[in-house]
Symmetry: C2
Subunit: 196 residues, 2 copies
């Protein structure tokens, strides 16, 4: 009642959605991922930085390079998922700022001339976009299995370059048999929110 | 067509939603924020860490302490918004892990015994939750104005403690006259997504 979002959408995105640990064989198409991206690209980042970069691991060759870089417990999931995406932060996002933030193109040099500042901004804003992407996958009727259990340096070396820092890797597909663990408890409103 | 999420929900959360820079006088109630929190708390974090903490700035006294800590361009918005929320990452989230991640309570000590590791995990996972919260506000028919332009050290000292690191501050309310800037360009699918 308090929410404007309809109940079916609440269920799809939050209440009935879970991190998936197994998947069916149904493929995930580029059209699906593009529809997700074209929706979630609209959600906000600071200065419209939009630093999220996504590598879709589609070929058998690339999958074979990725799986051994995952933590052991994640390897079977990443080997079996219909699609795997490497999410990364572009530490050189500022090159696009004159286009992305046209009413204040000076931001590129005024605020983001130093690499450590950019790395921090890129990590934060790409992480916001990673969250939008996870919900966007759910919006496409897909299940996501986000993981940070992998060799970050090796994934960067093997799949990215020095300007792109890995954030997480997501298994993507339709949930398979036994895909979901029971939901763990969450902190209550009173535990997480205070008023001053 | 490619998305399972209905068009009205797509519009509410993404396509017609914008960062708001002005607000009406309509109050934002605790019930609304609780409904938002109770929805978005379900979205995933690593190890169910759930490190996001929210301080709702409701009293005039607290607002008067906060406004001068904002960047000059943000001060009028933060002074005028019906509600302002300080979002922070709890660097001691691991204390709750035995409850939040009951099937592997050892995670608390195995993975998160060191403060720098916790700080990085808290920042990342609270940022994911900040993105969920922004979309959750939109799900409640509210507009969000997230900002990182403020004195982080001063906000931490004035409103938080050493264990809570500020992430962003969000103005919350119904959009007022001229609330929205025109949407800036986004990177295309081809610019942001590659396939291997």
């Amino acid at each position: 009642m308090t929410l404007a979002l309809d109940a079916a959408a609440q269920d799809l995105l939050f209440r009935e959605a879970h991190t998936a640990n197994t998947f069916t064989d149904e493929p995930v198409t580029d059209e699906q991922i593009q529809a997700v991206y074209d929706l979630i690209k609209l959600a906000p980042t600071a200065f419209n930085q939009s630093p999220l970069r996504i590598v879709l691991v589609r070929s058998e060759e690339a999958r074979a390079r990725l799986v051994p870089l995952m933590a052991e417990g994640n390897q079977p999931k990443t080997a079996a998922a219909p699609l795997v995406a490497i999410l990364a932060a572009d530490n050189e996002f500022h090159a696009e700022l004159p286009t992305l933030f046209p009413h204040f193109p000076q931001a590129k040099d005024l605020f983001f001339s130093e690499r450590p500042v950019r790395e921090q901004a890129a990590a934060m804003n790409a992480t916001l976009q990673a969250a939008y992407f996870i919900l966007g996958l759910r919006a496409a009727g897909l299940a996501a299995g986000p993981m940070t259990g992998f060799d970050f340096a090796a994934v960067q070396k093997e799949f990215l370059d020095g300007d792109h820092s890995p954030l997480m890797i997501i298994n993507i597909g339709k949930p398979g048999e036994g895909a979901f663990h029971p939901r763990s408890p969450r902190l209550s409103f009173e535990q997480a929110v205070t008023t001053v």
